[in-house]
Amino acid sequence: MTLLTVRDLAVEFRSGVRAVDGLDLDLDTGRVLGVVGESGSGKSVTSLAVLGLLRDAQVSGEIRFDGQELTALDRRALRRLRGNRIAMIFQDPLSCLNPYYSVAFQIAEAYRAHHRAGRKQAHRVAVRMLDRVGIPEPERRARCYPHEFSGGMRQRVMIAMALCLEPDLLIADEPTTALDVTVQAQILQLLRELREEAGTAIMLITHDMGVVAGLADQVVVMHQGRAVERGPVRDVFHRPQEPYTRGLLACVPRIDGPLPDRLPTLGAIT
């Protein structure tokens, strides 16, 4: 079943920059859509547009989520939807957490924003979520502050916060880019498990072709605000049709396979 449909999305900033230009996306319930591209391709702006978080930009096109047209909703209705049915995690978990409050308080706060629940009940939910995302000793760690956690643990807290409301859609914008590779493997494993257990659909935004290959079912390759190629992940990776996609796949130095003397590059010196 289709959960999110984006049609002819365009985002133009006041400066006249067209960050997204005629983008279509489709995401089914419980599936993972990878959105890949280099910096400036418009992938993050797309996610902000879906969440209705772009204030200073001209957004046009259709964004249909579970049958509802999001562009027609007012701020209050969007707020009810955000967190509750569509949640988001970002690259830098530290800048998303308030340093003055314990991690459990912040998860409980998100829960209480959408549910009628007392402090104690919300705290219990927070501890349960910390346990679920693999924080050891969740009872004790719940009272810790963000600075007492490592980068990987903070991203687990963000995931706990995002998932405590059992959203239908999780938008993950470069969720592992700031993490070390062994910690990245832990977080990707966690996202795989959550998707199996809870059936949450994920829109995964990343520049890392490896992360997409390991997690996504469908993939959209973005370049200069447009989708240059889309399809099932196997087709796009094994039989890329567009020169840009082929170039993007070929220029990544790999840890396996034949070692080229020189890496293929994409076009001119930039």
Binding site: G152, M153, D180, V181, A213, G214, C251, P264, I269
Partner: protein, 335 residues
């Protein structure tokens, strides 16, 4: 015998250009208002490395393992607590700034963030001339020529850093490092801040310059793909120590340290079929704090093979195959 002949002879007898022995750097840790000394953290704890002429040694590890501190010690931006750094027949470890200055001509550095390492008020021409000015020399290569060598245009010489993209700015940083015709260039995460297509261009450029000028590189990075692409030999660091060194192909085909093995299996492959079928070793927990490192083997708290011996005795680097050394009581590969 003139200088060139000497250089050829040195390369011929294969003596290393850089030889680092038991390098240690401890930083004081201070607490509270009075900045009371609370102890020391050993960011680099007994590292030994060699870089041969024309060779690229890749130094990999995760954040906090001490690889950038190693770079700062070798270029003597930091003073080591103990250990030796033999470069061009001198021990850099004990030299003062005046004695170091002439040696810096042969030992240059390229940094991660190209913008913060270029003076925003200077033109590219001034930035490149700065390399000579610091040495009290007249520029012997015009800025235009240096720019051409790194793939930029002569017209770029009178622009300021903010007018360039990240990849172009990194090329300027490389041109500055090359201005004095160094023998060794220490590159600290030179491609991490760049987009993948730009990364590929910079890696190719570094390779071309090496072929042309016979440069040696110490290439420090966390990206194992980039390290494989450019290195001849690789050293893997964990929590202040080197846990494995090997030739490039050996390291990727037959890693001997459990940490190297886990690190390789954690790198996502851009191939959905391989990703679905591969064996994953997901390490538990995080890097321990270097303030309070585990006893014995530093990796034992996350290692599947760890036992009493690992807690009691710290393993030393030992040779287990030709060109492969590992610091582990139970290596994945036995001699």
């Amino acid at each position: 015998m003139d200088e060139d002949d000497q250089r050829d002879e040195r390369a011929a007898d294969r003596s290393p250009l850089l030889e680092v022995r038991n390098l240690v750097k401890r930083f004081p840790v201070r607490h509270g208002l009075t900045q009371r000394l609370a102890g020391h953290v050993a960011a680099v704890d007994g590292v030994s490395l060699t870089v041969g002429p024309g060779e690229t040694l890749g130094l990999v590890g995760e954040s906090g393992c001490g690889k950038s501190t190693v770079a700062k010690l070798i270029t003597r931006l930091e003073r080591p607590t103990s250990g030796s750094i033999h470069f061009a027949a001198r021990d850099l470890a004990g030299l003062n700034e005046t004695a170091l200055r002439p040696l810096r001509r042969d030992l240059q550095m390229v940094f991660q963030d190209p913008f913060s390492s270029l003076n925003p008020r200077h033109t590219v021409r001034q930035i490149l001339a700065g390399a000579y000015r610091y040495q009290g020399l007249e520029p012997d290569q015009p800025a235009e020529e240096l720019l051409a060598r790194v793939g930029l245009e002569a017209g770029h010489a009178d622009r300021h850093p903010h007018e360039f993209s990240g990849g172009q700015a990194q090329r300027i940083g490389i041109a500055r490092a090359l201005a004095l015709r160094p023998k060794l260039v220490v590159c600290d995460e030179p491609v991490s801040a760049l987009d993948v297509s730009v990364q590929a261009q910079i890696l190719n450029l570094l390779r071309d310059l090496q072929d042309e000028y016979g440069l040696s590189y110490l290439f420090i990075a966390h990206d194992l793909g980039a390290v494989r692409q450019i290195s001849t030999r690789i050293a893997v660091m964990y929590l202040g120590s080197v846990v494995e060194t090997a030739d490039r192909d050996t390291l990727f085909a037959q890693p001997a340290h459990p940490y190297t093995h886990a690190l390789l299996s954690a790198v996502p492959l851009p191939d959905p079929d391989l990703e679905a079928s591969r064996e994953r070793i997901v390490l538990h927990g995080d890097l321990p704090s270097p303030l309070d490192p585990p006893s014995g083997c530093r990796f034992r708290t996350r290692c599947l093979k760890a036992d009493e011996l690992c807690a009691a005795e710290r393993p030393q680097l030992r040779t287990i195959a030709l060109g492969q050394q590992v610091a582990c009581h139970y290596p994945e590969r036995t001699p």
